[in-house]
């Protein structure tokens, strides 16, 4: 855990908001990638995920109304991993990927978010902050359940799902 | 001051002379001082140099024409050659072109004159040049030679003394005194020789004249035009442009970067220009060849740049120290794809200033690259010229200072020029690209985008109003000489001589080589029945260009010769006479 200072309610809200916004942006980027590569099913799926994250972000923004959230620069968040915890790993995308793969990525993201907020409960600055962190833990656990259920609809595809009989095309 | 001789001396409008010597004899320095002294005395002149391949100690010849009217061409004949020594001097024979009326003054202790000199029929007299110099403490043979030259052409001693004081100011009074004494010794020794020609006297100029080389003039033209960034790689014979511009640019608030090669040079100036700063590079044929790919980038991304090509003998390494006009094909057609751009060429040393300044203005106005085809003859010759006029041609780029939302860098406009945002302008961000693009600048392979952007890049050049500067059209008559670049000087002189013979000949010297001007050209040719195309190439590049762009009649005559020797008026006059 890279956090060492005690996290206040405002800082908690700022981080939670950033997590959802980052995740939203990440899913939106993946939706674009899929759209450009003509994988319509995944473009829609990632689009939906982006929408959902956007709703989460909006909820947190509402909750934060009135509070003065601190500016935290991107590197100052000191996320535990290589980026914000709910961001799915962009390097495992594939232009032929299936919903199973996407939702597996999403599930991992939500699980990381659970772990992150669990860690935040330990360094909350006061009881309010701790309670807030615990709320976020619960919410993320809910998300994990939802994604699991969604994932269950898509069993792992057979081998050969990434076979493309066309050769790569030169561009420049 | 006239020579102490009883023979009749004719007064001439122009005299051609040369001083040659080797191994540090200082012939070039003497030649430069002679030009300056003559200029002070009110004469015009042209000073070129010819050297061997050695970097130091080689044979060298200072070649001058001094006249009462501006000079833009090599002389038909050398009237006077002063040979400090004869080491490897046959090298200069072709360039000097001595004849039976020429006089050669050679050092008494030198070897026999080379066979080719003797065979020219010139009168050869001996003077103890080296001995006279040795007799003076610190005296040098080139100052003796200078004295002989001055006496021969009737240049006042005062003008030379003044020049010695100026040129040797930082070498100390000892050097100045020694040089003046050596000069005097040369003048006195010359009194024993019969000279048949003197320069007609002239009054000192009413308005200050300038002494400038074509390369310096190009540099000055660039700065006057607004250039404030140069990146370049040294190459003969363009390096002097960079040498003059480097400190000048800094004084003017700009900068010069010596690049690692020409590939870097052209890209650096594209980068600087993209940043909003008018930019230029100077090179010669081999360097321009390297730059062609990126010139295409400037065309495609619509970034203005100016490339001065001081042409030299080609192909490949060719003859780096001599002139030729054989980069025309490359300048016009060297880019891959359809890549219209501007090509201009100065017609004289003085015109290097105007044409380069104009090129900056054109490039900036049309957001396109402009190639300036100068050449070694113009670039390295020093000329005495009238003070150049101050011109209004400066960089005036269409800049979008307040871009609206949805700004499109390559929008299709009526004149084909779309306002450009400059980095630092909020809301104007775009990515310039060599890839074909749509009006916004996003890469596109669509047929409609390609054809409309190609039209844009072409129409903006052909639709521009170049005014009367596209060519120098002089005179009228049923005969015409069509030429360009440094061939213009001798052509003009030949036409003047033809007029004295009663032949009415028109001169059409193109300054704008691309885009073509069919209407202007047709108007210039009205009334012309026979024409002579003059160019310094082997393969007739200019004639082919004229035929392709303007459809010349099949009986157009062609005087076509590659370098290293420049045209002389007499050659062109003979060709004109054959037209009749």
């Amino acid at each position: 855990m890279s956090e060492s200072t005690e996290i206040t309610v405002e800082q908690m809200l700022a981080r939670a908001y950033a997590i959802e916004r980052e995740a939203q942006a990440r899913y939106a980027d993946l939706a674009d990638q899929m759209q450009v590569h003509n994988n319509r099913e995944l473009a829609e799926l990632f689009g939906r995920l982006a929408e959902i994250e956007g709703k989460h972000a909006a909820k947190i923004k509402q909750r934060a109304a009135g509070a003065e959230l601190p500016y935290i620069s991107p590197l100052a968040y000191r996320w535990p991993g290589t980026e914000a915890p709910e961001n799915v790993d962009i390097s495992v995308a594939h232009y032929l990927m299936t919903p199973h793969h996407a939702l597996k990525m999403a599930l991992k993201g939500e699980e990381r978010a659970v772990a992150y907020f669990e860690d935040l409960t330990e360094i909350a600055a006061d009881n309010d902050a701790k309670a807030l962190a615990e709320e976020f833990v619960e919410e993320e656990r809910e998300h994990v359940k939802l994604v699991k259920a969604w994932l269950d609809k898509y069993p792992e595809p057979e081998a050969g799902w990434d076979e493309d009989h066309d050769p790569p095309a030169i561009q420049e | 001051m006239s020579p102490a001789s009883t023979k009749e001396t004719s007064e001439r409008q122009s005299i051609a002379l040369a001083i040659n010597g080797s191994g540090g004899a200082g012939a070039i320095t003497a030649g430069g001082m002679l030009l300056k002294a003559a200029a002070r005395a009110g004469f015009y002149g042209l000073f070129t140099r010819s050297v061997g391949p050695q970097i130091r100690g080689g044979e060298a010849a200072a070649i001058l024409r001094l006249a009462t009217v501006p000079v833009d061409a090599a002389a038909d004949r050398c009237d006077l050659q002063i040979a400090i020594d004869w080491m490897n001097a046959d090298r200069f024979a072709g360039e000097l072109n001595l004849g039976p009326d020429s006089l050669v003054v050679a050092d008494s202790n030198a070897d026999e004159a080379p066979q080719v000199i003797a065979a020219s029929g010139a009168r050869i007299v001996a003077l103890p040049i080296a001995a006279l110099a040795k007799a003076i403490k610190g005296g040098r043979p080139n100052m003796v030679a200078l004295g002989i030259a001055a006496a021969a052409i009737g240049l006042p001693r005062e003008a030379l003394d003044a020049e010695i004081e100026t040129t040797l100011a930082d070498k100390g009074t000892g050097a100045i005194t020694a040089s003046k004494e050596a000069l005097a010794a040369g003048i006195d020794a010359a009194s024993e020789i019969e000279f048949t020609a003197n320069l007609a006297p002239t009054a000192p100029a009413a308005e200050a004249r300038w002494i400038i080389s074509g390369n310096e003039a190009a540099g000055l033209g660039a700065i006057r035009g607004g250039v404030r960034f140069v990146a370049a790689y040294p190459i003969t014979p363009a390096t002097e442009i960079l040498e003059w511009m480097a400190p000048a640019l800094v004084k003017a608030g700009g900068s010069l970067v010596q690049a690692e090669d020409e590939l870097a040079s052209i890209n650096m100036i594209i980068g600087a220009s993209y940043g909003g700063v008018p930019a230029l590079t100077a090179t010669s044929g081999p360097g321009l060849a390297l730059m062609l790919e990126s010139l295409g980038l400037a065309v495609a991304s619509e970034v203005p740049v100016v490339v001065v090509d001081v042409m030299r003998g080609g192909p490949s390494t060719g003859i780096p120290t001599k002139s030729e006009q054989s980069d025309l094909n490359m300048a016009l057609h060297g880019c891959h794809g359809d890549a219209p751009h501007i090509v201009v060429a100065p017609t004289s040393v003085a015109d290097c200033l105007f044409t380069t300044q104009w090129a900056v203005h054109l490039a900036e106005a049309m957001q396109a690259p402009a190639i300036v085809l100068s050449d070694q003859f113009l670039g390295q010759a020093k000329a005495v010229i009238d003070r150049p006029a101050d011109l209004a041609f400066i960089a005036n780029r269409k800049v979008e200072a307040a871009p609206a939302v949805g700004y499109r860098r390559y929008a299709l406009t009526a004149d084909g020029v779309s306002p450009m945002t400059v980095p630092g302008t909020a809301g104007g961000q775009y990515t310039a690209d060599g890839l074909e693009h749509n009006p916004r600048g996003t890469p596109s392979t669509a047929a409609s985008d390609h054809s409309s952007q190609l039209d844009k890049r072409s129409d903006k050049l052909t639709g521009f109003d170049y005014g009367q500067h596209w060519a120098d059209v002089e005179g009228a008559g049923p005969l015409a000489v069509i030429t360009w670049g440094s061939s213009t000087g001798p052509a003009r002189e030949a036409i003047g001589m033809a007029r004295e013979d009663g032949l009415a000949v028109k001169l059409i010297a193109l300054r704008l080589l691309a885009p073509s001007r069919p209407e202007d050209f047709a108007a210039a040719l009205e009334g012309v029945e026979r024409m002579l195309v003059v160019e310094q190439t082997h393969s007739g590049q200019f004639l082919r260009h004229l035929r392709a762009e303007y459809g010349l009649p099949r009986d157009a005559a062609h005087l076509c010769r590659p370098g290293p020797l420049n045209f002389r008026a007499q050659e062109i006059l003979s060709a004109i006479r054959e037209l009749q």
């Binding site: 759209q35 | 300038w210 690692e260 650096m268 990126s294 775009y430 310039a432």
Partner: protein, 282 residues
């Protein structure tokens, strides 16, 4: 600048540095992460997008300028450093990032690389090294392993020793040299931010896997590790370390003090063109 002083509503986020053009890179390409790292670094520094220019050559990584909301130039193959140098010298007020790949930067662009390091112009050079020519369908690049045999142009592998860009950069005088891995988005962003802050030529080599032609590079995520020692300011030590490391050390490997290139300035206000008449008057 104090980050606390920025009102949250006005702060630029990494999204503000992305344009609306959708990248065409293969999904899974490391360059997506690099774009994220660059935009994150810019957000960290709160630079105004219009004061940043991203200049590139040709190749997959060179597509990046269009995907950023800054001024950009997508130039010709191998000349991105020259473009960037001209722009920075003429416009020292801009932040100039030069983006390239291992082919564009170390093959055709090799000469300009040496001289950019020499010149120490204050710009940041980011090379996305995937050890292959992706755009032209998978030929070996100067950094490709000698036994990589998947290219028709070099059956059995090139057998050539790979180019060592970090060492060459140091030998040529680069004053800031770092290695990064695209998979560590924030770590790479931090390196890029430090590189931009560094006054002088900063070179960041980012190992960025090519998912299409080098699927074996998926292993890189298990091989990279932070450098175990602090960056040094002794170029000889840095070179020795880099030449003996496993090639997967990430972090700032060298940071030295060398005054950045600065164009000569006039003593006094700039003169106008008429000043030079005196050079030529008789």
């Amino acid at each position: 600048m104090t980050m606390d002083a920025i009102p949250v509503s006005e702060a630029l986020t990494s999204r503000d540095y992305k344009s609306d053009i959708k990248p065409v890179w293969c999904p899974g390409c490391g360059d997506y992460s690099v774009l994220g790292s660059i935009t994150t670094a810019l957000a960290e520094l709160q630079l105004q997008p219009e004061n940043v220019a991203v200049v590139s050559g040709i190749g997959c990584s060179s597509r990046i300028p269009a995907y950023a909301n800054c001024y950009g130039f997508h130039g010709v193959h191998g000349r991105s450093l020259a473009l960037g140098t001209g722009l920075k010298v003429a416009r020292p007020d801009l932040t100039v990032l030069v983006a390239s790949g291992d082919g564009d930067g170390f093959s055709i662009g090799g000469n300009h690389f040496l001289h950019a390091c020499r010149r120490n112009i204050d710009l940041t050079y980011i090379v996305m090294d995937n050890r292959v020519y992706g755009m032209t369908k998978g030929q070996p690049s100067p950094t490709t392993e000698p036994d990589w045999a998947e290219s028709a142009l070099a059956p059995g592998g090139t057998g050539l020793r790979p180019f060592h860009p970090l060492v060459i950069a140091l030998a040529s005088g680069a004053s800031f040299v770092a290695r990064a891995f695209s998979g560590d988005l924030l770590g790479t962003a931090a390196l890029i931010a430090e590189a931009i802050r560094h006054e002088g030529f900063s070179f960041v080599e980012i190992l960025s896997p090519c998912v299409t032609f080098r699927p074996d590079e998926r292993e890189w995520r298990n091989q990279v590790h932070p450098a175990s020692v602090e960056p040094t300011d002794d170029p000889a030590r840095a070179v020795r370390r880099i030449m003996t490391d496993d090639g997967f050390n990430t972090g700032v490997l060298f940071s030295g003090e060398r005054s950045a290139y600065s164009a000569a300035t006039p003593d006094g206000p700039p003169v106008d063109a008429g000043y030079f008449d005196g050079d030529f008057e008789v």
